[in-house]
Amino acid sequence: MEKKEHIISILVHNKPDVLARIAGTLGGKGYNIESLSVNTTMQYEISKIVMTTVGTQETVNRIEGQLQRLVDVIQVDDLTNVESIHRELILVRLNLTAEKKEQVKKAVDTNKWKVIVSADTYIILEITGDQSQIDFALARLAPLGIADITRTGIIALNLEH
């Protein structure tokens, strides 16, 4: 069976250890978490975890089964096979060295990147998009010299319920 990336959305009780339980369950059974995003929902007692993992449909079914066994897990959805939108966010610091300064400014204008901090010696950009858009941005950013970068896990939402 074909291996591919799956995005799994998990609603959990916002209890101590809940992330450790999920990470431990998957790690202990030999499944890898590629990306992870966690926050509370509109209800503080309930959190949403969005994680991605690479595997066959069969493997992902097993992962779902293992997650559903956990007492703190309320609901598990594989968003891969339903219509859903995906977003990641990166924050990038670019140093404004004498030789790259103009190049950076030009790239920011051309790509309509959002500058959130602009200083004499550096700028910080905030870029969001789906995985391919982020990968595209990173390819453009690389030659400019990335001083530091941080990238969130994927978050996702299905179009209809």
Binding site: P16, D17, T25, E58, N61, R62, G65, Q68, R69, L70
Partner: protein, 567 residues
Amino acid sequence: MKLKGTQILLKALEEEKVDIIFGYPGGAVLDIYDQLYKSNMKHILVRHEQGAVHAADGYARSTGRVGVCLVTSGPGATNTVTGIATANMDSIPLVVFTGQVPTGLIGNDAFQECDITGITRPCTKHNFLVRNIEDLASTIKEAFHIARSGRPGPVLVDLPKNVMATETEYDPANIKIRNYEATYKPAPKKMANFFEMLNSAKKPLIMTGGGVILGKSSELLTGFARKYQIPVTGTLMGLGSFPGSDPLWLGMLGMHGTYYANMAISHCDLLLAVGVRFDDRVTGTIETFAANAKIVQIDIDPSSINKNVAVDLPIIGDTQAVLKDLIKFMDEHNYTYEKSQRQEWLAQLAEWKEKVPLTYCQNGKVIKPQFVIETLYKLTKGDAIITTEVGQHQMWTAQFFPFDKPNTFVTSGGLGTMGFGLPAAIGVKCAFPDKQVVDIAGDGSIQMNIQELATAAQYKINVKIVLLNNEFLGMPRQWQELFYEKRYSHTDMTYAPDFVKLAEAYNVVGLRATKPEEVETVLKEGLALDKPVLMDFRVSREECVYPMVHPGDSISNMSLGSREMIN
């Protein structure tokens, strides 16, 4: 009513109708023990915390109720881990209370501090650290609910010392807990599917497992199998869920299953698997397991479906609810089966049974371990609760002691924990003081929790230990004989204590048999005594458990020992 944490704990246990605790005190739980001193709660002081968990486990397996233990923080807590993992693998409901250092010291590497909720996360169904006194009563209630509901399992509750010393309002009528599991929904479509599958099956077979015992559905399953004349095989955990004396019973399947059970699995065209999880010791090579059959699986845990074996019709729900629906559906649709076809299948099974029965050869001057078990069965007429340790003696028990009733065979199936049988027997005997409770043990296993003889002696818990002493770690030795050209690397246990003297040192009666003709006499004497007794049977040293499916082989391909390999 304002109460201290320690008082709330005991009140909450009364609410849960707990009648016995297996435990061991220490610094972090002395306040709780002080409260116990003032209460009427029965407490059994074990000699090692692992023993406390196995005893509570034995209590739970034999009664179907939640077993309870209480231990201190740090090493007290870590000593419970093997016991908890044992219960977790076999889905046994336990609540384990561990002491913890005061909340202010957690994380400081305090004396006897350890992160026991972290350590036991992968081997409990769920666990809790109670950080606030306000959460104590609801946490205990939730712990019991989680332990016994759904697919049961062990729950650990960690109790920091300062929390237990704090006061709060306690009102048992006003405790709300959340529900965590989906309720069972009847699926008439699936019943109809099953109906059709059974209708077209010529060689149906039932495989019963631990879920039938946990779901208290042995009677339903037995009635169903008898009514439609469907033969039954069982996993180790399923022994007792269908009467071992019934002609439809084929015995255990799997690595040390009977020839005819494994042949039935390989030839059946419909397999109804109830409360099983298709462990590798049961299936052999997955590709050839029940290769000719459509598989219907009834299980409460969706993650057990399609985990190891691809299933044609999964029915998710507790075995009792599903079997009830199934039987009702069959009745309403006046299901009948082709009698001549069934006769053909049953005749085939009978032929296999006759061709290769379970057997051994008791001749000469050396006691055969199987002979001891058969004699035990004969003398007790099967009216006993049997616990085992893990190894050859466990497999021989599964083969040569037929169990007619559920909850009468108490053994560590999934984890395979040596040292389980003696403390488990103590737990069983506490629940059933008038029943004959026998731990069938090996000389390796018994030494792993031998200290519990002191517990049995102190409380006059009159368990009987049938020690099949071959001065070897028998099962590893068997594998070394078969797969490592008899290189007996560190399995020789000749250097052992004199078990009779050891028993006597613990104030337990010690008896010994060295010749076949002494077996019955020793068993009779030991079983009749109103005292804990250890019976040391010096058995044939290099006896092997047969049939045996070699690891990684198909279960129809069995080695039968002195007889030839039969396909």
